[in-house]
Symmetry: C2
Subunit: 249 residues, 2 copies
């Protein structure tokens, strides 16, 4: 009887080509599947809650894998996996779950954090972990604009085109948190799901607004049903500032 193991995975996104398995083997999924293979001498598929792009970090990505048999306790899988994974990928927690649990299909929501450094010089310890914006941002305006993403909307124009039909682009953002501490800005979005590059396009637009290059009305206009709004140039915030911090089940 196969046993389903749930994994909470953290990674520094920098050295990898994103979550998804890649032909070059540099996806985080590849490293996890290789780790299972080294332990079990068997290829095991790892299912993630969602993909993260190259350079995007995770504090708590979620995944599951069906193990051939319940050979080890969940804690032993944790240490065995960490023993063979590169140190930029760590399995933070493991536990056995019922077969009805699916990392992707059971997910009820996700929280993403985006970090911006708004100052002349990016401190070296922020390299690869924040978007460096030198020009002054209107943070009050940015915070207000961020709140206009709250609610159920058609995010079609905040998604990179992967050919998804417009009907699949309805998402609900239930929480927006904006924090400023000196030069450091942190924006968090919690929602039932996020489209491809959606958070980076939302933050890109917020930055345009905070730089005075776009109107705060830009967001409402782009959230109207597809076809009604004008085409606007899209701004995508860099991957380095993005962190998947929680998957809710």
């Amino acid at each position: 009887m196969p046993s389903r193991l749930k994994l909470i995975v953290a990674y520094d996104g920098r050295p990898f080509s994103g979550w998804q398995s890649q032909p070059n083997g540099n996806g985080i999924q590849d490293y996890l599947e290789n780790a299972f293979e080294r332990i079990c001498s068997e290829r095991i598929r790892v299912h993630g809650a969602g993909r993260t792009d190259a350079g995007v970090h995770a504090i708590a990505q979620c995944a599951h894998a069906d193990l051939p048999a319940r050979r080890y306790a969940a804690e032993r899988w944790l240490s065995a996996l960490n023993g063979v994974l590169p140190q930029e990928i760590r399995v933070m927690r493991t536990r056995f779950v019922p077969d009805s649990f699916h990392a992707r299909f059971s997910a009820k929501g996700k929280t993403y954090r985006y970090r911006i450094w708004n100052g002349e010089v990016l401190p070296p310890l922020e390299n690869g972990r924040a978007w460096h914006i030198r020009d002054p941002l209107d943070c009050a305006l940015m915070a207000t604009a961020a709140n206009s993403f709250l609610g159920r909307h058609n995010f079609h124009s905040f998604a990179a085109n992967r050919g998804a039909p417009a009907a699949d682009t309805i998402r609900t953002i239930c929480r927006v948190r904006f924090q400023k501490s000196g030069s450091r800005l942190v924006i968090e979005f919690e929602g039932d799901g996020f489209l491809y590059k959606m958070v980076r396009m939302m933050v890109g637009t917020l930055a345009q607004i905070a730089l005075g290059k776009a109107s705060p009305r830009e967001i409402q206009s782009r959230l109207r049903p597809a076809g009604e709004h004008l085409f606007h140039a899209r701004s995508v915030a860099p991957a380095a500032g993005l962190f998947l911090i929680r998957v809710r089940y």
Copy 2:
């Protein structure tokens, strides 16, 4: 007329052999002096407030350099230096100061931060930025013990031997801050000065106490005038958790 430039320097300590100039050229001081040479075609000595060891980070190390002439405004020096420095070293601020200012001899105090991750697995984004301690720490005991460093003491037995006479090992710690947030512990020490490896030996001893391997009385006993205390095995916390966060003038 030479002009004295004060620099606030931040660095990720990992790739470097510490602050001090090295025969292999891998000291942070070497990179700064090379940067000045590339800009001025002249060798300029950079004086730091103090040395940091290999792997130790700085949020705000302080330094000064005597420039051949006030050719550029301070802000231009900032961007010129950052233009040639490796991205792991950044000059955060620059300003011209009177010749009476000396980065080392004018310093009135320093603040160091030490970070510990107390949990089963070290998150990848903490690599090289924290001391990973798996076994549970008694944090209440650790916080109390940390406060026993407060005041004016002979720190002789909390210094790596560099042949300094005992008379030079009196230091005053004026502030200790202990913070715990989940698995993350942060201890800050502010003092009029710190001996070689002093913070790392203080934190090493605190960890021994919090692990139940040493008595909290260990600290008071070791702070007694040299000769009166017994010799104890010394524990030095790793460089990776240490950050120089401020130099006070």
